[in-house]
């Protein structure tokens, strides 16, 4: 267990199963007849922050969305290969998608609080699970808001509409909403691209804090951000996984020419 939190680099290719949060095996995905992901295999380590980088349209959002099967919402989407979380293949048709999504939370680029009160926003997932006891909900809301570093700012106005919050507060509310379900994995798809630099920093600190609680996968266009917050980074190009290693190595001495071109800004 101690090994889980130390910061020496893990060997990603031979990561043992008990340190693996997600194991992707030969994943390919098409929207209609457009190939978006091709033969992706990777192991994402537990309790680490893994960043996905790559040019716009390379399939980052698609890949991260396949971890909680959000791609199923698109009727044109087909996929092959397996994704193991624990010892379950979540691409299996028998997988309960709702249950999966409570275990794998997701936060989107644009803050999307529901047009309800702050309290109700955080409760949304819990209520869907049938939790109705007021005390239980109150406790969960407080804990989730504290985890998302929002409690101090909103504790006096829990029952006001969430739409009066600032963009950064809204994004933390959305994170709290996902944390309330106590997910094992948290997917963040460009969580700071709609926020100002200071708020971004705040969220980044939050991410560093949260990795003790769950495995985090973050999509970002910001190289500095990827370097700052992530332990491991994967570089995608046109639906293929080009390079995947610890962030220090990837950003200082990339192995592939394409990676180097991308991180030095020669294209994309």
């Amino acid at each position: 267990m101690l090994k889980l939190f130390d910061h020496e680099h893990l060997d990603l290719d031979n990561l043992s199963d008990d340190l693996t949060a997600i194991r992707v095996e030969d994943l390919s995905l098409q929207f209609g007849n457009k190939h978006v992901l091709e033969n992706i295999s990777m192991r994402i380590p537990k309790h680490r922050v893994t960043a996905l980088i790559g040019q716009s349209g390379c399939g980052k959002s698609t890949l991260i969305s396949s971890f909680n099967r959000m791609n199923d919402l698109n009727p044109q989407c087909r996929y092959q290969g397996q994704i193991y979380i624990g010892d379950r293949d979540i691409n299996n048709k028998k997988q309960n998608v709702s249950e999966l999504r409570t275990q794998v939370g997701m936060v989107f680029q644009r803050p999307n609080p529901f047009p309800m009160s702050i309290y109700e926003n955080v409760c949304y997932g819990l209520k869907l699970q049938g939790i109705k006891v007021r005390r239980q909900l109150d406790d969960a809301v407080e804990r989730a808001l504290k985890d998302a570093a929002l409690w101090k700012e909103v504790k006096d106005r829990l029952f006001e509409s969430a739409s009066v919050l600032s963009g950064g507060q809204q994004q933390r509310l959305v994170i709290a909403r996902a944390l309330a379900l106590k997910p094992d994995i948290l997917l963040l798809d460009e969580p700071t691209s709609a926020l100002d630099p200071l708020t971004t920093l705040f969220i980044e600190e939050l991410i560093a804090e949260l990795k003790h609680r769950c495995t985090i996968i973050i999509v970002t266009h910001n190289m500095q951000q990827a370097a700052r917050v992530s332990d491991y980074t994967a570089f995608l190009h046109q639906g293929r996984l080009i390079e995947y290693s610890d962030s220090d190595t990837l950003f200082t001495t990339p192995e592939q020419k394409q990676t180097e071109d991308y991180i030095t800004g020669r294209y994309g």
């Binding site: 939370g105 989107f108 869907l128 509409s161």
Partner: protein
């Protein structure tokens, strides 16, 4: 250059465009205002108490001078003459008739403050000078005390009704029971009952005699006396002696009666309460039926239906249904709901009462159902619009928290689309409240003896026919050619219909504004 040869420069074209726009907007506004003003003036005028005049004129029958009390219904100029429609009372027709009087036949016309307008309970009107009130003791009482005397009469009448409803009907029941048990004519029980019946009956007769000997004595303009049982008098207005404030009081009183009483004299007098009630009830039922169906259909089309040709065809059909003439829906309602569904229900459940139909006859429920079908496309289209406006990100947010499709629809999509749904409901209400033609086929009638709601189980009688403001107006428009007065009643009903639609709309709009504040992103 081509450009320089144009008739107007860029700036002129713009000014022309704005000018034309302003002109047509103004025209539209003017048209709207004049419609509302006309209806408000003519409808409101129906309630304003008019002065009674003493009019002398040369009769068109025998060229003899004649004097009557009259109210001027309307006046206009024709061939340099002033023409007046008069509602008058004379010896031949004390209960009123209407004549058209030219100014060259008019000898004199002056306000007559001594004369009063006496309305009878059946809707007829006498214009005459009240002289005295007569009591059973043949003493005459000052007219000023008429209200107290009428109170008396009402009490006597209440006692008569009480005896009829309690004692007499009890005895009637018992006698019928004896008949059924074939008890002989001379049985003591029967004799006792008969005696009790006679005693009560004679008491009723006595009370009725007493009641009817309270009379109001009136004098017509030429001195003819008439006497009316006080029991029949509905109201007595001395309009000539009223101040403006007094007149306003009378007018408000009339508005109150108009809203709460039933029509009289074939919908030319009295109130419109049953029609008002029928209209609101029908619209209410229609809303209850159309909203869930319309919303369900829209949710299916927008969220569940596969994106294929079939769905597109259904969408096109729905939009086209909104353009089908309403009378077609009326015929559909009659043929399908009433004869088809209603007829089948009769055969299944009410066979014992056939051939008299129970469900297979026009009624308020079928009318509401027909109007619901008629307004369904409006609700579907507006709801779909609302559903389309729900941001994709919010739906994704809901799914990402483990919500199923149904949960997302219920907890996120529908609340967000509720302003759109309300827009549909508003349009549906406005349309349903204004329709007349289809309603006449499926349950709205000129006169319905009972309201669809009463104290009798099951309280809401959905199979009953009902009255509707639109039908009342339609009916009134056919009386109005000569009957200037009913034109006013018709206008009053128009005004009321406008007010009803307006209030229903305002309620729905307020509700929508509330929902918007809550659910729409700013």
């Amino acid at each position: 250059m081509n450009k320089s040869r144009r008739l107007f420069s860029q700036g002129q074209r713009q000014a022309l465009f704005i000018g034309a726009g302003a002109f047509f907007t103004g025209l539209l506004l003017l048209a709207m205002i004049s419609i509302v003003l006309l209806i408000a003036a003519r409808g409101g005028g129906y309630f304003w108490p008019q002065d009674v005049h003493r009019v002398s004129f040369l009769s068109s029958v025998d060229d003899q001078p004649k004097t009557v009390f009259a109210q001027i219904q309307s006046e206009y100029m024709q061939d340099g003459q002033k023409m007046r429609w008069l509602q008058l009372s004379d010896a031949q027709s004390p209960y009123g008739r209407q004549i058209l009087l030219e100014s060259n036949r008019t000898l004199s016309l002056a306000r007559a403050p001594e004369a009063a307008r006496v309305a009878l309970k059946d809707g007829r009107v006498v214009l005459a000078e009240p002289v005295s009130v007569e009591s059973p003791e043949s003493t005459s009482i000052a007219v000023a005390r008429i209200d107290a005397v009428r109170e008396n009469v009402a009490q006597i009448d209440a006692r008569i009704t009480a005896i009829r409803d309690d004692a007499l009907s009890q005895i009637h029941l018992q006698l019928t029971e004896l008949d059924q048990r074939k008890v002989s004519k001379n049985a003591p029980a029967r004799k006792k009952l008969n005696k009790a019946f006679d005693r009560w009956h004679s008491q009723v007769l006595e009370l009725e005699r007493q009641r009817d000997s309270y009379r109001l004595n009136l004098q017509l303009a030429q001195g003819d006396d008439i006497s009316i049982p006080l029991m029949d008098v509905y109201s007595l207005e001395h309009t000539g002696q009223l101040t403006a404030v007094g007149k306003l009081g009378v007018a408000l009183n009339r508005v109150g009666r108009f809203l709460t009483e039933s029509p009289k004299q074939a919908n030319t007098a009295g109130g419109v309460f049953p029609a008002l009630f029928g209209t609101v009830l029908m619209v209410f039922l229609m809303t209850i039926i159309v909203t869930p169906f319309g919303v369900l259909a829209a949710v299916y089309l927008n969220e569940y239906a596969p994106d294929n040709a079939m769905t597109s065809i259904i969408r096109i059909c729905v939009s086209n249904m909104a353009g089908v003439p309403s009378i077609v829906y009326g015929v559909f309602g009659l043929g399908f709901f009433i004869y088809g569904v209603g007829g089948s229900l009769d055969q299944l459940f009410f066979e014992q009462s056939l051939p008299a139909p129970t469900m297979g006859t026009p009624g308020v429920f079928w009318a509401a159902l027909t109007m619901a079908i008629l307004t369904l496309p409006v609700v579907i289209v507006a709801t779909e619009e609302g559903l389309r406006n729900v941001p994709q990100g919010l739906k994704a947010g809901s799914y990402a928290l483990g919500a199923t499709k149904a949960e997302t629809v219920w907890h996120t999509i529908l609340p967000m689309a509720s302003p759109g749904i309300m827009t549909g409901v508003i349009l549906a209400i406005a349309r349903a409240a204004g329709e007349v033609a289809p309603l006449m086929l499926v349950g709205a009638v000129k006169f319905a003896p009972n309201l669809p709601v009463d104290a009798e189980f099951p309280y809401l009688h959905l199979e009953r026919q009902f009255m509707h403001l639109g039908v009342l107006i339609y009916d009134g428009a056919f009386h109005s050619q000569t009957d200037a007065k009913s034109a006013s009643m018709m206008f009053a009903a128009c005004l009321l219909l406008l007010v009803v639609v307006f209030i229903l709309n305002i309620l729905a709009i307020l509700l929508r504004a509330r929902l918007r504040r809550r659910y729409e992103r700013r």
